[in-house]
């Protein structure tokens, strides 16, 4: 399938409606606030299926929040999101998730295989325990990221890159159609970085969609097809070759959104967005 090229300006909802196939993710007029602090403001975009998408932006731009809001992990003040045309909560079984590595306690008493098995808990369902079939799947996922030899290793004894690969294996075990990854390349060694980049390409070849928060601007064109540029507001969303431009980067990382930010804060202090 060939998605309609996106322009550098925030896409309108009619642009999304005109596309022949359902977008993998469609975010409409999204606003998220933590207490009175605005984190995301009026964000619209639609992402086609089968692409590797980077979400980029400066620290505090709301990149991780964007992912979590799409997944329904943080409350949304306004707007809606659809995954393949349906609310996210109806699409749990086709979504895979790789949280930030630092978000968990790696001294937790468990081994690598056990962590990967957690990716299959959703399939196993309530109360039932994962069995041999699930173990085999989890082992296959570990082998896929080159971690089969570490299956029984206590997770605190793994290096940062190995821990990241265990998280990726857990997401692979979910056998999802759409993957969300929060900074998969953060703080990993060269081997792991190559492994993750290879894995992303492979997922694309299999028609999967990956949406990843990414912090390294230099590798965006190398690893990703599409880019979503955020700084509280959407700066641009579209194919890398179209929107990953000096102007957009300046708009994303420069100080030009200062006035907007202040306006948003003052409005939220008066009670937050309505609707």
């Amino acid at each position: 399938m060939t998605p309609t090229p996106q322009t550098a300006t925030p896409p309108t909802s009619t642009a999304a409606a005109q596309r022949p196939s359902t977008p993998a993710v469609e975010v409409h007029d999204f606003t998220v606030a933590y207490h009175t602090k605005p984190v995301l403001w009026d964000v619209d975009f639609a992402l086609p299926e089968g692409k590797l998408v980077a979400i980029i932006g400066p620290n505090g731009a709301g990149k991780s929040t964007m992912l979590k809001a799409i997944l329904g992990l943080v409350p949304v003040s306004a707007g809606w999101v659809e995954i393949f045309g349906k609310p996210a909560r109806e699409q749990r079984s086709i979504i895979g998730y790789v949280p930030q590595r630092e978000s968990v306690d790696w001294d937790f008493p468990t081994n690598a295989l056990d962590v990967v098995l957690m990716g299959l808990y959703g399939r196993v369902g309530w109360i039932r325990r994962p069995g041999r079939h699930e173990r085999e799947k989890a082992m296959a996922a570990l082998a896929h990221v080159g971690m089969a030899d570490y299956a029984r290793r206590q997770i605190s004894q793994l290096s940062g890159g190995q821990q990241q690969r265990v998280f990726l294996a857990r997401a692979l075990a979910q056998e999802a159609r759409l993957y969300f990854m929060d900074e998969p390349f953060a703080g990993v060694d060269a081997t792991t970085e190559r492994a993750i980049a290879g894995l992303l390409r492979e997922l694309r070849e299999r028609g999967r969609t990956v949406i990843a928060v990414h912090h390294d601007l230099q590798t965006v064109p190398q690893y990703f097809d599409w880019v979503v540029m955020l700084n509280l507001r959407l700066v641009a969303a579209g194919p890398v070759e179209k929107v990953f431009t000096a102007d957009n980067l300046h708009a994303t990382y420069g100080g030009r959104l200062q006035v907007l930010t202040q306006a948003a804060e003052s409005l939220l202090k008066k009670g937050g967005p309505t609707g």
């Binding site: 329904g72 992990l73 998730y97 008493p109 468990t110 957690m118 808990y121 325990r129 857990r170 969300f180």
Partner: protein, 437 residues
């Protein structure tokens, strides 16, 4: 001396009650500790006090059933307050726990004081819930507590997988569609029940120790959550029985505090002695590393002494080595003796020289040192006078894999930044070191 066990049938009930309490709080405590909510149990225990007093005021009864229901209700209310405060305000969990603990406990103490000043005679004995009074356990209590414990363990076993997910990676669970908030409320309710089970025996003030300490002790011995939960339950039960027996053997020794002391001893032992995680283990590791550094440094000295004349195997006297190393001769003599036993040095007319293996080792150490100096000066662009001390540490720590990576990065340099030649080693000897030989 064990006659007190048969003289006093009541002691068996006390032992049973203490064992039951240990199992419930040990198992649930693991989840509280792993979720970094160690103090939650403390707040929940203190929050039970006003419920106990109100239950008595409303019914005039001190039957175990009434007391338990009162404790459960007010402790659960405290738990919901904590969850609600965290969710609905900007206060963090530690503040919420502190607030609930002090407000509920303060209210409980006020009620308790009011009850004790009432003229009727029925009020006596409620204060046993402060520090526990295990000797008051009767068969009926044991039945109720046993049932509650079985119920708690059954729910824990049923939702073990989901609770594990909640404790390790809550967000991931939520992304898969598990109702993590409901699971959290359920787990907290189980902790409340475990706390209430221990109130009569250990009391509200010390109850937190029964949740935290067995879990911390068990964590030291295993890397598996299932084993940790089992072990914590066993430690809790064992210490419960020990405390009951000890206080039964002596006069006027309170059971609850003795149980808490017993479990604390187990925890201290575990923190010190457990393999890999224990303090003693890490001291041994440090001591071994220091010994390795001492041996390797002297080998490197032999090499450096031989460098000007390219005569690596010349015999050296103890005083000469002592001067180079800057240590008393007696100390150097001990190191030399250890190296001789390892076959790295050979004695020759009261002097010492490197053996073939000793020379290979010395070359490897110097190579590590000078490669690291090259890395610091070429790759990290540090000045030549900044790099020696760092290399002194790293020469003992570099693994063959890191050395190979350094060689790849630096392209097999022949000289270090101080223009000293970097020794070439026979690849076969790289893996060995004085410690292992």
């Amino acid at each position: 001396m064990w006659s007190f066990l048969t003289d006093n049938p009541n002691l068996w009930y006390v032992m049973g009650g203490c064992a039951i309490l240990g199992v419930a709080s040990g198992a649930l405590g693991c989840f509280a500790v792993l979720r970094r909510q160690s103090l939650l149990g403390d707040a929940l225990a203190h929050a039970a006090l006003p419920g106990i007093c109100l239950a008595f005021l409303l019914t005039g009864s001190k039957s175990p059933g009434v007391m338990l229901v009162g404790a459960l209700a007010s402790s659960l209310l405290g738990a919901l307050f904590i969850l609600g405060i965290v969710r609905g305000t900007r206060l963090k969990e530690d503040s919420a726990i502190g607030i609930v603990l002090s407000v509920f406990f303060g209210g409980g103490i006020v009620l308790l004081t009011a009850i004790q000043h009432r003229p009727t005679a029925a009020q006596a004995g409620l204060d046993k819930f402060l520090f526990g009074y295990a000797a008051s356990l009767v068969p009926r209590d044991l039945e109720v507590l046993g049932m509650l414990t079985l119920a708690v363990l059954a729910v824990l076993a049923l939702f073990y997988k989901e609770f594990k997910l909640l404790a390790f990676d809550r967000e991931f669970g939520a992304a898969m569609g598990f109702p993590m908030r409901t699971l959290e409320v359920l787990l907290t309710a189980l902790v409340v029940v475990a706390v209430v089970i221990g109130l009569q025996t250990v009391g509200v003030v010390l109850m937190a120790a029964m949740l935290i300490t067995p879990a911390v002790a068990a964590r030291q011995w295993t890397h598996s959550l299932g084993l940790m939960v089992t072990l914590a339950a066993l430690i809790g039960a064992g210490c419960g029985v020990t405390g009951a027996v000890l206080s039964g053997a002596g006069r006027n020794i309170p059971t609850g505090p003795v149980i808490v002391l017993a479990v604390t001893l187990v925890m201290l032992f575990s923190i010190a002695m457990a393999p890999r995680r224990g303090l003693v283990w890490s001291w041994v590791r440090l001591w071994r590393h220091r010994k390795k550094v001492r041996l390797e440094n002297l080998l490197a000295d032999f090499y450096r002494l031989g460098e000007p004349q390219q005569d690596w195997k010349r015999a050296r006297t103890l005083p000469a080595l002592a001067i180079v190393r800057g240590q008393p001769p007696a100390r150097v003599a001990r190191t030399v003796a250890q190296l001789e036993r390892s076959g790295l040095l050979a004695s020759e007319n009261g002097q010492w020289r490197l053996t073939d293996t000793g020379l290979e080792q010395a070359r490897r150490i110097l190579r590590n040192h000078r490669l690291w100096e090259m890395f610091l000066s070429r790759r990290l662009e540090l000045a030549a006078d900044h790099i020696h001390r760092d290399a002194e540490e790293m020469e003992h720590a570099l693994s063959p894999a890191i050395v190979a990576e350094l060689e790849r990065l630096l392209g097999q340099p022949a000289m270090d930044p101080h223009h000293k030649p970097i020794p070439v080693v026979n690849p076969k000897s790289e893996a060995s070191n004085p410690q292992s030989s």
